[in-house]
């Protein structure tokens, strides 16, 4: 290969355009090593069993084919600079892409030959003869290597060719690809819904037994998405602009309606799903709950807490101790809801105990100390010293039994629910009544209540409370811990409550104080904010939400061991918050759905069962990619997005200022 070192922007353009040999070599090498890595860790072979499009594309091939295509595409991709005309794409894109692809193929072929000559399997268990055969297209190693170079070149050239396509084709092509991927990921979901609706035949038409799309289904999905994109793109943009252009209050209403709709769908979902999917859903719900709590601590108050699992453990163990008849020494054998005040109380105490000493530290120091506390919690639970309270390594079994000889569960008495609602109404009514008695001028945007309506509300609340207390069990709902749909529903209730609480707090003076402390602790204090109580409050609320999660977790499993509260739990919850978007409620929900739902939790399965072994690897890849490409998270809060895109914000503001200045001058 001749080194063509034409500088960017120069008029001289050979067959490679302005792509240098160096950049081709670099991308080719990175691509080749990526493929070798995917093959050597066994991903390729494990995924090969699952088809994407039956029978032509397996997930194994899909997991490596993207590499030459992407690198072939990237090598001749130019950074778009405003005001500089990019040279029109041409043959150089295809040639350079092909060259990169060939390098990728060459490296993989080399790997194949080396693996054939040297016995690598002692170190890399996954370089099996079968894998090598699949990778080499079932040919002899040398032949396979040569085929790999050719295939790589073809795929790389394909990637380069993408530049030649006009944007109006590239967009639809992208959506066709995305649709194929989504349909594959959602195989369980779609199949499940179809079967539950009694349309199993349709399911069998779409998905083959290998769990891949059938050829006709794949064609329909791809063409459908392609056409939909062409036909709908204008309308989607118009709808989005309409939402973005709304006033603040209208936006808020849209968000509220969206939230209610989502919860309603969430409540309906379990009936459409089978056991496995409901298991995934309840895990997602649990991690949303935990993520919301950590979001208060990390996202709002900016306290990097790496020992969050300790509070989760406090919730789980408190529930276990007070509900299990077999808890070693202290065993009041309470029901789940009777245990909740204990759980809350213990969590608050734990939040204060851990929070008080660490609250004076900042940033990295805080992270390290909380990391230590997280481990201390687990080791204390495991220790023989506390064995007669927590059962050490044996853990605690028979948590919250529904009855003698029955498994773990929760019994919801609607009477008490009614009573709780009544008490809330009573309090609201009282506050309104007190306000109506006050002699103050009405303010804009503040409703004023009459004493009469407030007293009526109080009366209704009192009535509900009394009735609920008198007939606590007029209606009950028994949730068995091993019944995923029911567990999901109760987890959803708690998650919605947690979301509500954090949202309301965030929009109050406490929430503002948290943000101020996160921004600049010293100045927040100088502006009259008591930073110790503000930070402790964040810690305690985070701890309480985590403890709810722990309580539900304990009931779900019926048995808990110290082993369930590893440091990795803290990390995963943190990753959910970061990937979703720190300080954003919807972000936490999205993060949990994507990570826990699709990939699976630390010990929980996800939609893509094939990924189980490589879960942590993928977590890492996602995290790194996010930090590079989208540090604000998948669905960030406006503040966070602004913060991490300061330059763009400044530019927008500058443009606006030019208009603003013009307006100011006019009168």
């Amino acid at each position: 290969m001749t080194a063509v070192t034409t500088p960017v922007g120069s008029a001289r353009r050979g067959v490679l355009g302005d792509v240098t040999a160096r950049s081709m070599l670099r991308r080719g090498a990175i691509g080749g090593l990526t493929v070798v890595f995917i093959a050597a860790i066994g991903m390729f072979e494990t995924f090969d069993a699952r088809k994407v499009i039956d029978p032509i594309v397996s997930l194994g091939y899909a997991s490596i084919v993207w590499v030459p295509i992407m690198f072939g595409y990237l090598v001749s991709k130019r950074q778009e600079l405003e005001g500089i005309e990019a040279p029109p794409p041409g043959a150089s894109n295809v040639v350079s892409g092909g060259a990169v692809g060939a390098i990728v193929g060459f490296i993989v072929g080399l790997f194949l030959l080396i693996a054939d000559a040297v016995h690598l399997r002692d170190i890399f268990l996954n370089i099996s003869p079968e894998m090598r055969e699949t990778l080499g297209f079932g040919q002899e190693p040398l032949m396979g290597a040569m085929l790999l170079v050719l295939a790589g070149a073809a795929l790389g050239a394909l990637g380069g060719t993408l530049h030649l396509l006009p944007e109006r084709l590239r967009g639809p092509l992208r959506s066709a690809l995305v649709a194929l991927v989504l349909f594959n990921f959602a195989e369980l979901v779609i199949g499940n819904i179809l079967r539950e609706l009694g349309a199993g035949a349709v399911d069998r038409l779409i998905y083959r037994p290998s769990r891949g799309l059938s050829m006709p289904a794949a064609a329909i999905v791809a063409v459908g998405a392609f056409l939909a994109k062409i036909l709908m793109s204008g309308r989607v943009r118009a709808a989005r602009d309409k939402v973005v252009g709304q006033s603040e209050s209208a936006k808020r209403r849209t968000a509220l309606i969206g939230g209610v709709l989502l919860v309603a769908i969430g409540a309906l979902m379990p009936s459409l799903f089978g056991t496995y999917l409901n298991e995934i859903l309840s895990n997602v719900g649990l991690f949303i709950l935990l993520g919301l709590g950590l979001n208060v601590v990390v996202g709002y108050a900016g306290l990097l807490d790496l020992g969050y699992v300790a509070f989760f453990a406090v919730g789980a163990y408190t529930t276990a101790v007070v509900t299990s008849p077999l808890s070693p020494s202290f065993s009041p054998e309470l029901a789940f809801f009777e245990a909740l005040p204990w759980v809350l109380g213990m969590a608050a105490v734990a939040g204060l105990v851990i929070g008080t000493p660490v609250i004076r530290m900042r940033g990295d120091y805080l992270a390290i100390v909380t990391l230590g506390f997280g481990e201390i919690a687990r080791i204390a639970l495991q220790s023989d010293w506390l064995a007669n309270l927590f059962g050490a390594a044996q853990g605690i079994i028979r948590i919250s039994p529904l009855g003698p000889g029955q498994g773990a569960g929760i019994r919801v008495s609607y009477g008490y629910v009614l009573a709780a609602v009544g008490i809330v109404l009573l309090v609201i009514g009282f506050l309104r009544w007190r306000d109506s008695q006050r002699d103050v001028a009405p303010l804009d945007g503040v409703p004023s209540y009459t004493a009469r309506s407030s007293l009526l509300l109080m009366g209704a609340g009192a009535l509900a409370a009394v009735l609920g207390m008198l007939f606590p069990t007029f209606l009950t709902w028994t949730i068995n811990g091993i019944d995923p749909p029911a567990m999901f529903r109760i987890v959803l209730v708690f998650a919605v409550l947690a979301g509500f609480v954090t949202w309301r707090l965030q929009e109050s003076r406490v929430g503002r104080a948290w943000v101020a402390v996160r921004e600049d602790e010293q100045i927040a204090q100088a502006m009259g904010i008591n930073i110790v109580t503000t930070k402790l409050l964040a810690f305690v609320i985070g701890a309480m939400l985590a403890s709810f999660g722990g309580a539900l977790f304990a009931v779900k499993l019926g048995t808990i061991f110290p082993h369930s509260f590893q440091i990795i739990q803290s990390i995963i919850i943190l990753v959910i918050v970061i990937v979703g978007g720190m300080g954003s409620l919807r972000g936490v929900a999205i993060g949990a759905v994507v990570l826990i739902g699709v990939l699976g939790g630390p010990t929980q399965p996800g939609l893509l069962r094939e990924f189980a072994e490589f879960k942590l690897l993928l977590y890492g890849v996602i995290l790194i990619w996010m930090m590079l490409q989208r540090p604000e998270g998948l669905w960030p809060s406006a503040r966070r997005a602004r913060e991490l895109h300061a330059e763009e914000t400044l530019q927008d503001v500058w443009l606006k200022d030019v208009d603003g200045e013009a307006e100011e001058v006019k009168p």
Binding site: I428, G445, V446, D520, I523, G528, V653
Partner: protein
């Protein structure tokens, strides 16, 4: 001395071997504007840091309306009615202009978490009041921080606007005593003139007592009732601008000792 709002007595602060302040006395009467001037490193900002509770003094008393506030934390001092701005503007950069001013009212508001959760009438009223007061405070700066600027993050503001927002934020804590640390630093002459007038208005219309650290002598002349001069942590002069500006010790501190005779100046 019935009207003394701030009475600092024999304030001393050492950083290692450096005497940042040694035995500084200063009395500020209610409704006064007092300037604190002095060469770089004279201890002016340390003086502010101690009054506002960010540092604790080694010796001395700080009486604010008769209460000794030495040793209190900054939030307690702010709650009692002392607010300050910072030499190197320190806003909450990612909060909007309005939020910056709203959050400063934290210590003047009291609605708790329960009423926030239930959106009680008291909570809603207080939130509305906080926002109204924030807008009112920002309107003090005329069109500078008006309209669409309310919803901009603080980090996009121009330098002069950041200074204004800092003053607005300090005003929002509803203080009696306002400590302004070089409010006109980095402003152009027109902006400086504008702010000089505003400092006067802060006292005349809003009723704040003001202590201001300033390097621009025209500003000092135009705003101050009294001027105190610090040098190497010692108060070397105090009096009206004219008295202080003709004081030999002050001139020496700023310009150095005359070469031959002691009578070169004035």
């Amino acid at each position: 001395m019935t009207a003394a709002i701030l009475d600092v007595r024999a304030l001393t602060k050492r950083f290692g071997g450096l005497n940042a302040l040694s035995g500084v006395d200063l009395t500020v009467n209610s409704g006064e504007i007092v300037s604190v001037i002095g060469p770089n490193g004279a201890g002016k900002t340390t003086f502010f840091n101690i009054i506002s509770g960010m540092f604790h003094p080694d010796q001395g008393e700080i009486l604010f309306r008769g209460d000794d506030i030495a040793g209190m934390t900054p939030d307690q001092v702010t709650k009692l009615g002392v607010a300050r701005t910072f030499q190197n503007v320190r806003l909450f950069p990612n909060m909007t202009v309005l939020e910056n001013v709203m959050v400063a009212q934290h210590c003047r508001t009291r609605q708790g978490m329960l009423s926030a959760l239930l959106r009680s009438p008291g909570f809603l009223r207080e939130e509305a009041e906080i926002e109204d007061r924030a807008r009112e405070v920002l309107s003090f700066f005329g069109t500078r921080l008006a309209g669409y600027r309310h919803d901009q993050p603080a980090f996009v503001l121009s330098y002069a606007n950041r200074r204004r927002l800092e003053i607005a934020r300090a005003m929002a804590t509803q203080p009696e005593l306002l400590l302004l640390d070089e409010p006109t630093a980095g402003m152009n002459p027109r902006e400086t003139r504008e702010l000089t007038e505003l400092i006067g208005e802060l006292r005349d219309e809003r009723g704040f007592t003001i202590v201001v650290i300033e390097h621009d002598m025209r500003v000092v002349r135009d705003v101050s009732d009294r001027v105190a001069v610090l040098d190497h942590g010692i108060k070397i002069a105090e009096g009206s601008y004219d008295e202080v500006s003709s004081d030999d010790g002050v001139i020496e501190a700023y310009l150095g000792r005359p070469a031959a005779t002691g009578e070169a100046a004035s």
